[in-house]
Symmetry: C2
Subunit: 302 residues, 2 copies
């Protein structure tokens, strides 16, 4: 017993062509299929519906009552589907010409973003750039879950083999302290003096990146003290002035938190940070992704 009343829209298209031509051979060539294929499909449709759609006799092909009943619905289904497909195609076209740029905090760094944008738009005038703020939970800044096509990220990136990147900036890491902190009096501090301080840490799940900003490598195996977890610039600032802990920060980001009550100082004995624009490896050939990366390189290289 066949329960399925589902049709292939193609069969309705075939039916409609025959209904309009009342001639299988002509309908078949209009549809660019062979006449036997058309005959077979129409018969299959008739079998599926349990009803004759056409009367074929010596005098030609004619619609039966059932065929006439089906006709308007077939037209409506085809029209509706055409509209639906067009709607989907419109979305597709829009998203093919839209580049989602992920970032955890604003890249800042003196108009970097507008500079890249204008250079990029010059090459891709039809494109749309959508900036997307991504939670610090995601060290890939939206690349992993597809919410971004390119993203400003800190190296090292987890799942590094899935991504490609170009380095935007290599900057020393500073330490951010409340201005009431004893070390705030110095113009420069050694990392060894910081090692026992409570640190503000990125959320778990940010993987190697959390370890990196805790400077795990430079600690020689001694675990850091975690003063609090931070998931935004504002939280970081509040945690600093609240004395919950201190943290490392890239020099390019220092302006974002050195507001009242917070100071940054250079740190000796610690490697620099690398900020990069990254994209999924499989997107490396997409014109917009390529174009944005090139614009980024040329701006950062200047």
């Amino acid at each position: 017993m066949v329960m399925t009343t589902d049709v292939h829209v193609r069969d309705l298209r075939y039916f409609l062509a025959v209904a309009e031509e009342l001639h299988f051979t002509r309908a078949a060539e209009r549809l660019y299929v062979s006449q036997p294929a058309l005959s077979k499909q129409v018969r299959a449709l008739e079998r599926q519906l349990g009803v004759e759609l056409f009367r074929r006799d010596r005098h030609g092909v004619a619609l039966t009552g059932a065929g006439a009943a089906l006709l308007p619905y077939a037209r409506r289904v085809l029209d509706t589907w055409a509209e639906g497909a067009a709607a989907v195609e419109a979305v597709r076209a829009a998203q093919r010409s839209t580049l989602a740029v992920g970032m955890s905090t604003s890249p800042g760094r003196g108009g970097l973003l507008p500079a890249i944008r204008s250079r990029f738009m010059a090459e891709h005038p039809a494109a749309t750039v959508r900036l997307r703020q991504v939670s610090w939970e995601d060290p890939s800044a939206g690349l992993a879950d597809g919410s971004a096509d390119v993203a400003f990220v800190w190296l090292p990136l987890p799942d590094a083999d899935r991504y490609a990147w170009t380095v935007v900036a290599e900057e020393p890491r500073l330490v951010a302290l409340p201005d009431t902190h004893p070390l705030a009096a110095r113009t420069e501090v050694a990392f060894a003096d910081l090692a026992d301080e409570p640190f503000l840490a990125l959320p778990p799940g940010s993987g190697p990146l959390r370890d990196y900003w805790l400077a795990l490598e430079e600690r020689g195996g001694r675990p850091p003290r975690i003063g609090a977890e931070i998931a935004s610039t504002e939280e970081t600032y509040e945690a600093l002035v609240g004395g919950l802990g201190i943290c490392l920060v890239a020099s390019g980001n220092a302006p974002l938190i050195t507001l009242g009550g917070v100071v940054t100082r250079p740190v000796r004995g610690i490697g620099p940070s690398r900020y990069a624009l990254a994209w999924r490896r499989e997107d490396g050939q997409r014109p917009l992704v390529r174009g944005y990366a090139e614009a980024c390189r040329s701006v950062a290289g200047a």
Copy 2:
């Protein structure tokens, strides 16, 4: 390059189920298919449209922009198709409960038709009987081209193996003559006296039936003279009074043409005619066909 934007309606149904459940496994069991089948079909739809319909990530399944764009159209297509299928089904139901009775001329014979009809309707109160007058060109009275489900026919029937029948009446064949004809004076004539007369013949294409009413068998190989061809009772009457020829007629049909100027006389040396209700062999089990045949047998047998 895939040109075809055609979809299988089933795929839209699958898509809709997933969009409503936002859960592949639950949607799959609602659809009574396995989860992999559902996954594969949805992916295939996405591939066909060149767009992601759902975002699958750790937090579950969600519609993408394209998916949301498609959703209302998918619903409309499904609804429209449901209506169309229902419309076809209505026609199918109607025609399953309708019996088309073909006949070349009215069977007459003293209320035969109403008697069968009332007996038939007693057994099948929901049925509809449609009488259908069929051209004399078709000796099967509509069975051959499907315009009748059962038909009153004269035996022998061409393509006899395609049909089954029950004899309604076996009647002597009379000769119909203009009353001005020399033989009209007799009360009975021998066929030998008629053999050289011009005969009115059924249209070519009526096959063995034409030969039968020309009594070809009784002529022993001598070809008849054809005075005219007739395709209706009226034509026959006019041809008779116009003197174009004479013809044989079943006694049950004699009243139809013995109007002013035409007489009928018994003929010696010629077999009787057999009038039957016939149907297509493959319809032998259809309840309405069976029922009408039974009603016919019981009326004719009484």
